[in-house]
C-alpha cells in the first residue's frame, strides 16, 4: 500500500508538516531513535540524492527489523563516499565486494543467516543503476529467480556518476552524459528500447516490487516497511537525482525527483507477485519541459533553434507511463 495521499499542512507547498502529525505517523527520519545507519561525515556531494535515499531507506529498514540488518553494497558512489579508509559512515554490518555482485553476496549472507537459525536478521543489497541494471543484472536476476530472502534497493541516478557521468542502461533518451555528448547531429543519449528493471523484477513475479523517489519520504519509508513484511526476493527502485550528473542546483534535488514523478516520466507504484497493487497519482500534471529545462544534461534540447520533436518524444514516454499506470486522478491503469 502506497503512502498516499499525505495531508499537507502548509497550503501552496508540497512540504509535509511532520511536526504536526501524530507521533505514530511521523517518518522514521523524524524519530529521535532513528539509527543514523548512514551517519553524517561521509563524502557525498552537496545535494546528493543517493545519500538521502540510502539514509531514508536503510534507517526505515533498521526500524522495521528492530536493528537486525546486514547490508551488501555494490561498488559505486554510495560505497566510495561512505567508506574511505580508515573511516566508515555505516553504523550497520556492511560489506562491499564488487561492482556486479551485490545481489549474490546478499544471497550468501541470507544463506548464512538461515543456516545459523537467525531468521530475525534481514539482508539488504544496494547499488546504483550501473551496479543494478547493467553489470549486476545477472546476479540480480538470479537472486530474484531463486526468490532469495533479500531486499535489493537500486538508487537510480540514471548514469555512472562515480566514474564521471557516463551512460548506463538507465540513462534516459536525449540526456547528455560524457559518453553521449550532444555534438554534431547527436542529441545526447539515443532513443533505445529502455530497460525497465522494476518491470523486469515484476516479470520474475517476486513477492514485492516498488518504485519511489527521494521527494516522498513517507512513501519511501512505507515501501521499505512493506518490503520487510515479505520473505523472499524484493526490489525497490528509488529515483535519486544527482546534481553533478544532471546539472541542477544542489538545493534542487528533491524538486527534481518530484518533477520526474509529476510529469509522469518516473511512475511511482507498488507490485506484489507480479501485479501492480497501487500507484501514486500525479498531484498536478506538468509538461516534461518543466522537468527537463532545469537540468543541464538536457540543455541542448532548449538551445536555439530548439528541438521540440525530441521533447515531444519524451512527452510521449511520460504519456505512456500515465496511461499504462493510470497516474492521473480518476483514471485506471490501461489494460
Amino acid at each position: 500500500m502506497s503512502h498516499q495521499p499525505i495531508r499537507f499542512y502548509q497550503t501552496g507547498t508540497f512540504t509535509v508538516g511532520n511536526r504536526l502529525l501524530p507521533a505514530e505517523e511521523r517518518s522514521v527520519q523524524a524519530k529521535a531513535r532513528r539509527t543514523n545507519s548512514l551517519n553524517s561525515g561521509h563524502r557525498a556531494c552537496q545535494g546528493c540524492g543517493e545519500a538521502l535515499g540510502a539514509r531514508y531507506a536503510i534507517d526505515a529498514a533498521m526500524d522495521a527489523t528492530d536493528c537486525q540488518l546486514i547490508a551488501a553494497n555494490a561498488t559505486g558512489c554510495l560505497e566510495v563516499f561512505s567508506t574511505p579508509y580508515p573511516e566508515t559512515s555505516w553504523q550497520i554490518p556492511w560489506i562491499h565486494s564488487l561492482f556486479g555482485n551485490a545481489a549474490a553476496v546478499a544471497t550468501g549472507i541470507a544463506a548464512a543467516m538461515r543456516v545459523k537459525g537467525r531468521s530475525d536478521v534481514r539482508v539488504v543489497a544496494q547499488g546504483g543503476d550501473g551496479g543494478t541494471t547493467d553489470i549486476g543484472f545477472g546476479c540480480l536476476s538470479g537472486m530474484f529467480e531463486r526468490n532469495d530472502d533479500v531486499l535489493y534497493i537500486c538508487y537510480d541516478n540514471e548514469a555512472y556518476m562515480n566514474t564521471g557521468v557516463q551512460r548506463s542502461s538507465a540513462t534516459p533518451p536525449a540526456a547528455r552524459t560524457n559518453t553521449t555528448l550532444p555534438v554534431g547531429e547527436a542529441l545526447g543519449n539515443r532513443f533505445g528500447q529502455g530497460k525497465n528493471v522494476p518491470a523486469i523484477a515484476m516479470a520474475h513475479e517476486i513477492p514485492y516490487v516498488a518504485t519511489a523517489t527521494v521527494a516522498e519520504l513517507h512513501d519511501l519509508e512505507a515501501k521499505v516497511r512493506r518490503a520487510m513484511q515479505f520473505r523472499g526476493a524484493r526490489y525497490i527502485h528509488i529515483l535519486v537525482p544527482c546534481p553533478l550528473g544532471w546539472g541542477h542546483g544542489s538545493a534542487e534535488t528533491i524538486r527534481m525527483a518530484r518533477l520526474a514523478r509529476e510529469t509522469g516520466l518516473f511512475p511511482v507504484f507498488e507490485a506484489e507477485h507480479g501485479e501492480v497493487t497501487s500507484v501514486s497519482k500525479i498531484r498536478r500534471q506538468l509538461p516534461v519541459q518543466e522537468y527537463l529545462r532545469p537540468q543541464t544534461r538536457f540543455a541542448h534540447l532548449f538551445r536555439p533553434p530548439g528541438h521540440p520533436e525530441v521533447i515531444a518524444r519524451l512527452q510521449q514516454l511520460a504519456d505512456r507511463n500515465i496511461r499504462r499506470f493510470g497516474l492521473l486522478d480518476g483514471t485506471e491503469a490501461a489494460p
Binding site: 553494497n73 566508515t88 565486494s97 550468501g108 548464512a112 543456516v115 545459523k116
Partner: protein
C-alpha cells in the same frame, strides 16, 4: 574406511565431513560430479544444517560464497576452466577480503579452442590471486587436501584452492581411505571467523583503501602466505597423527638422495613420471622426482633444498606461459642453485594430450644427454603446425585455425594420444 569410489564422490564425501554450511554450485565439466554428490547429501538431509544454492554463474558462485563466509558460515564451491576465469574478479576479491573459502578446481584447459580435457592452465592463470593453491597427486590426496584446506583457510583467514586433474582424477575410480566424522572433527574445529557481519557488533568489510595503505594491505597478504609455508607442514604432521597417513605438505620427493637429474611436476602426472623414473633407474640413471603439492605460497626454500646437488632439472608442466615458455619452470628456476641453462621446460599434456611413459623417457634421456631443447613441447606434431603456418603464408583468409587443423588431421577427436 576403505572405499572404491570415483574421485569426485570421494571429494564430495570429504567436503561433507568438513561440515560446510553454504555450498554454491554452478555446473561445468569436469567438476559436476562433485557438486552433484554434495547436492544429493544436502537433499538427503545428511549435511544439515547446510544451504545448497544453485547459482546462475561462477561469478555468482564465488560471490555467494563471499557473502556466506563474511557472515560467518563455512563456505565451499567448485569449478574448472572457463568457470574459474568467469569468477576471477570474485576470486581475487575473496582473497583480498581474507575470507576462508575452500574451492575445488577440477583442472581443465582454457579455450579457445574450447576443450574440456585436463591441463593446469585454469588454476595457474590465478596463481597470483592471493589464494593458497594445493595440487593433488591422486584421489586419496585430493580427499585429504580438502580436509587440510578448511583448517588452513580458517586458521589464516585466507581462501584455499584444491586443484585436482579433471577426468584423470575426478572421474577415476580408485581406492581411498575415507576418514570418520570423529577424525575430521578432531582435526577441524568449528569455524570461528576473524571478521563477521553481525548486527550485535557492526563492522564495515571491504572499505576503500587508497595509496596511503594499499601497499601494507598487499604486504600482509604476502606475509600471511609466507606464514602458510610454516603452517602447511605442521598441519600435515598433525594430519598424519590423527588420520594415520602422510598427506599434503609443501613438496614430495622421490629418489632425490642421489639424483643428478630431478623432474619437477604437479598433480596426477607424477604417477606416470615415477613409473618412468623407476624404469630409468633400473637402467642406471640417477634420476629423481620432486612433486609440488603447494604451488602458492611458492615453497622456494623447500624446492631449493630438494634440488640441491642436482646437475639438471626438468620441469614437466601442463601449462604454458604463451610467449615465455613455462610457468612452473619459471618459479623453479628462481629457486634453483644451478645455472639457468640446466633447467629444462617440458610442456606436456595440454588439452588432455596423453603423457606416456615412452615419451617421458625419451625427453628425460635427451635432457641427460644434453640434447633437449630448453623449452620442449612433448609429442608436438610439427608437421601439423608447419601446414597451418604454410597456409597462413599463402592465404590472407586462412580461416579458423582449429577448423584447419582438424581438416588436416582428417579425423575429429579420435586421437588424444
Amino acid at each position: 574406511m576403505l572405499k572404491q569410489i570415483e574421485g569426485s564422490a570421494a571429494v564430495a564425501e570429504a567436503v561433507s565431513l568438513c561440515r560446510p554450511q553454504v555450498i554454491c554450485a554452478y555446473p561445468i565439466s569436469p567438476q559436476t560430479h562433485i557438486v552433484e554428490g554434495l547436492g544429493k547429501l544436502v537433499s538427503a538431509g545428511q549435511l544439515a544444517p547446510c544451504e545448497f544454492i544453485n547459482v546462475e554463474s561462477e561469478f555468482a558462485a564465488m560471490s555467494v560464497a563471499i557473502g556466506a563466509s563474511a557472515a560467518g558460515a563455512r563456505a565451499y564451491t567448485a569449478t574448472a576452466s572457463q568457470g574459474l576465469l568467469f569468477m576471477a574478479e570474485a576470486v581475487f576479491n575473496a582473497a583480498g577480503l581474507g575470507l576462508p573459502i575452500v574451492m575445488t578446481v577440477a583442472n581443465r584447459s582454457i579455450g579457445a579452442p574450447i576443450n574440456i580435457w585436463n591441463d593446469h592452465t585454469d588454476a595457474l592463470s590465478q596463481r597470483d590471486c592471493g589464494w593458497i593453491q594445493l595440487f593433488a597427486e591422486d584421489n586419496q590426496e585430493a580427499l585429504d587436501l580438502h580436509i587440510q584446506a578448511f583448517r588452513l583457510a580458517e586458521e589464516l583467514s585466507l581462501p584455499v584452492m584444491v586443484c585436482m586433474d579433471g577426468f584423470i582424477l575426478t572421474h577415476a575410480y580408485e581406492r581411498v581411505d575415507m576418514p570418520t566424522q570423529e577424525q575430521v572433527d578432531a582435526y577441524l574445529p568449528p569455524y570461528e571467523p576473524r571478521q563477521v557481519l553481525d548486527p550485535a557488533a557492526p563492522v564495515s568489510i571491504g572499505a576503500m583503501v587508497g595509496p596511503e595503505a594499499f601497499m601494507e594491505v598487499r604486504f600482509l597478504a604476502h606475509a600471511k602466505q609466507r606464514q602458510a609455508l610454516e603452517l602447511i607442514p605442521a598441519w600435515a604432521s598433525e594430519f598424519k597423527r590423527i588420520f594415520g597417513r602422510a598427506s599434503g605438505g609443501l613438496t614430495h620427493g622421490y629418489h632425490l638422495d642421489d639424483a643428478e637429474t630431478v623432474v619437477v611436476a604437479l598433480g596426477s602426472v607424477l604417477g606416470t613420471i615415477k613409473d618412468t623414473v623407476d624404469e630409468m633407474r633400473e637402467r642406471g640413471a640417477k634420476i629423481g622426482v620432486l612433486g609440488i603439492t603447494c604451488f602458492r605460497p611458492w615453497p622456494g626454500a623447500a624446492v631449493r633444498e630438494a634440488l640441491d646437488g642436482a646437475k639438471r632439472v626438468i620441469v614437466l608442466e601442463k601449462s604454458l606461459a604463451v610467449g615465455l615458455g613455462g610457468i612452473v619452470s619459471n618459479n623453479v628456476s628462481a629457486a634453483y642453485h644451478g645455472a639457468p641453462d640446466d633447467v629444462y621446460t617440458v610442456i606436456a599434456g595440454l588439452g588432455g594430450r596423453a603423457i606416456t611413459r615412452a615419451s617421458l623417457a625419451r625427453a628425460f634421456e635427451a635432457a641427460i644427454a644434453g640434447q633437449l631443447e630448453p623449452v620442449t613441447f612433448l609429442d608436438l606434431d610439427h608437421s601439423l603446425v608447419d601446414r597451418v603456418m604454410a597456409r597462413e603464408r599463402e592465404h590472407r583468409r586462412s580461416g579458423p585455425i582449429a577448423e584447419g587443423i582438424l581438416r588436416d588431421l582428417g579425423v575429429v577427436a579420435s586421437r588424444i594420444g
